[in-house]
């Protein structure tokens, strides 16, 4: 490209005009000056947030259109940010975040930030105790209760408590002690569970102000010595599905006022267990609600391989508890997710590589890799398409 001769003086002369107002200066008859504006967020049938751990630092989430492979937008989620709390009912989403006043030193402040889901601008924040769990991302670190009035964040200081935020009042309500237990799993509009180190499930009921109303320990939910549960559970409507290290699904039904613990059922048969097929990864389970299918990321490994990457996705029909599909991934994977629509896509990413890989979830066909989707891919969060 040839350099334009002596443009600097013209540019300087124009600078004042530009600074004032970007006023049009149509010296050519047909020229109309452009205005710098902000783009509207694009719709799409297959949009997915991919979280980026950015080398264990200030995290961000990038919204991708998985059909076009394009980046649509980005939000920042603070120091060791984990995921967004997406809303099923409002044009907002939330993010439990941690900040330090001087970058990587100084005073810690934890907040729940509200984002406008259309403009992607932060619209407010509610300060919470500065002790939410920091570490590798897990979606159970914080959750919206079912009617989305309360948001819960799990604290580890190392005391275990849960912060309750009233989103309607825009205020922090208080902390609920969950000693010996960890994380938050919503059980309805005013109820949540935590998973406990002694193998029990703790059920806590809130009142309409967000204060603890009742609690009940459900002992022997699992055996932490013989076969601990992965904390990476998925919810299928009224059922929480916890999967053990060995690959047994422990269902918990939350539809009644109490909790109903279903019989555990295996992802693998005896021969597969003998060959050490195990679930593993950072986000190894995904649900496709309308078809009632559970997607699981599995690998062949031994003891303590519960975070290893996999290259196989095994799919189960939750009605029959039978495997109905096997998908072979071309690349290593630590996170999987499935789009919620009726032409679902399977998303796969590996913490050790920057691509998001897209498959047709029904056929297992690899459709595309979106390169450089994130430097350190963490959790994946598909959002419901809103194409009219």
């Amino acid at each position: 490209m040839a350099r334009v001769g002596a443009p600097r003086l013209a540019a300087l002369a124009l600078a004042l005009v530009v600074v004032a107002n970007f006023a049009p200066r149509a010296t050519a008859a047909d020229f109309v000056a452009e205005q710098a504006t902000t783009a509207k967020l694009a719709d799409g049938r297959h949009r997915v947030w991919i979280h980026d751990l950015v080398g264990i630092g200030y995290a961000k989430a990038t919204l991708l259109d998985a059909d076009s492979g394009r980046q649509l937008a980005q939000v920042d989620t603070g120091y060791l940010g984990m995921e967004l709390e997406l809303s099923a009912k409002s044009p907002r989403f939330y993010s439990a975040e941690t900040y330090l006043s001087r970058g990587f030193r100084g005073t810690r402040t934890d907040v729940v930030t509200t984002f406008d889901a259309t403009t992607l601008r932060p619209t407010g924040e509610i300060e919470i105790p500065a002790k939410r769990l920091l570490g590798l991302p897990t979606s159970a670190h914080a959750s919206l209760l079912d009617d989305e009035r309360f948001l819960l964040a799990y604290n580890f200081s190392p005391a275990s408590t849960v912060s309750v935020v009233d989103l309607e009042r825009g205020a922090f309500v208080g902390e609920i002690e969950v000693a010996g237990c960890a994380l938050v799993y919503p059980l309805g509009p005013r109820r949540f569970a935590s998973l406990c180190g002694d193998g029990s499930l703790l059920e806590v009921t809130l009142d309409d102000a967000g204060r603890e109303q009742a609690r009940k320990a459900h002992p022997n939910f699992f055996d932490p010595s013989l076969d601990p549960l992965l904390e990476k559970a998925v919810r299928a409507g009224d059922q929480w599905l916890f999967v053990s290290f060995a690959g047994d699904v422990h269902p918990v039904d939350v539809s009644a006022s109490g909790l109903t613990f279903g019989a555990k059922w295996p992802l693998t048969d005896a021969a597969e267990r003998a060959s050490k097929w195990l679930p593993g990864g950072l986000q190894p389970f995904a649900l496709h609600a309308s078809s009632g299918r559970l997607y699981t990321l599995v690998h062949q490994g031994g003891a303590d391989t519960h975070k290893d990457p996999g290259q196989s996705v095994w799919v189960y029909d939750l009605a029959t508890k039978k495997r109905v599909q096997k998908i072979a991934l071309d690349e290593l994977s630590t996170s999987i997710a499935v789009s919620p629509d009726d032409a679902p896509l399977l998303y796969s990413a590996f913490l050790g590589a920057p691509a998001l890989v897209v498959y047709d979830a029904r056929t297992g066909t690899r459709l595309r890799a979106i390169e450089n989707a994130a430097s350190w891919p963490g959790l994946l969060q598909p959002i419901a398409g809103d194409v009219k």
């Binding site: 490209m1 530009v18 600074v19 980005q74 403009t119």
Partner: protein
């Protein structure tokens, strides 16, 4: 192919962008001959950029560093970040003050005044790093200096996200 670049590939972009196309083939030769010289640069990227040089630059592609409007840009292209050559990605705001360049549009042969509005309010986009310096001068001539973070708009508008190239005038008649 995806058009999204990330931090790990920015090096190649920068190599391509910070170097005139004319000299890139020469450097590529050295890179390939050198072997270990720049082992971390994705050589396929460099090769593609070099191929572009012989095959014709993408002067009409807003996601290419060769796009004609980008003659004095320095930053991530908003076209790769959810915006376009003249719009900021959702959730970010165009800086009210800018530096300007003068770029010739090969389609009509005219030189245009381009306002390089930074988009502000989020962390770096990280895709499509591009630096070209036609008419760029040091910070003592700030209105033509692309080294400056122009996100000066006050609260929530400090962080640099990406760069646009907005046509604001015709330089020659």
């Amino acid at each position: 192919m995806s058009r999204i670049d990330a931090l790990t590939q920015a090096a190649a972009r920068r190599l391509a962008s910070r170097t005139s196309r004319r000299s890139l083939l020469g450097m590529l030769g050295r890179l390939l001959v050198g072997g270990a010289a720049l082992p971390l640069l994705p050589v396929s990227r460099v090769a593609r950029a070099a191929g572009g040089a012989s095959g014709g630059a993408k002067i009409d592609d807003p996601e290419s560093c060769d796009y004609w409007r980008y003659c004095a840009i320095d930053g991530y292209l908003c076209s790769c970040c959810g915006g376009s050559a003249s719009t900021c990605p959702p959730g970010t705001s165009p800086a009210p003050m800018t530096w300007v360049g003068t770029c010739r549009n090969p389609a009509d042969g005219k030189a245009y005044i381009v306002s390089y509005n930074d988009c502000c309010g989020k962390a770096s986009c990280g895709h499509c790093m591009c630096n070209r310096n036609e008419g760029d001068r040091p910070p003592y001539l700030p209105w033509v200096s692309n080294d400056i973070n122009w996100c000066l708009g006050g609260e929530n508008k400090i962080a640099y996200h990406c760069s646009t190239a907005v046509l604001v005038g015709v330089a020659d008649k």
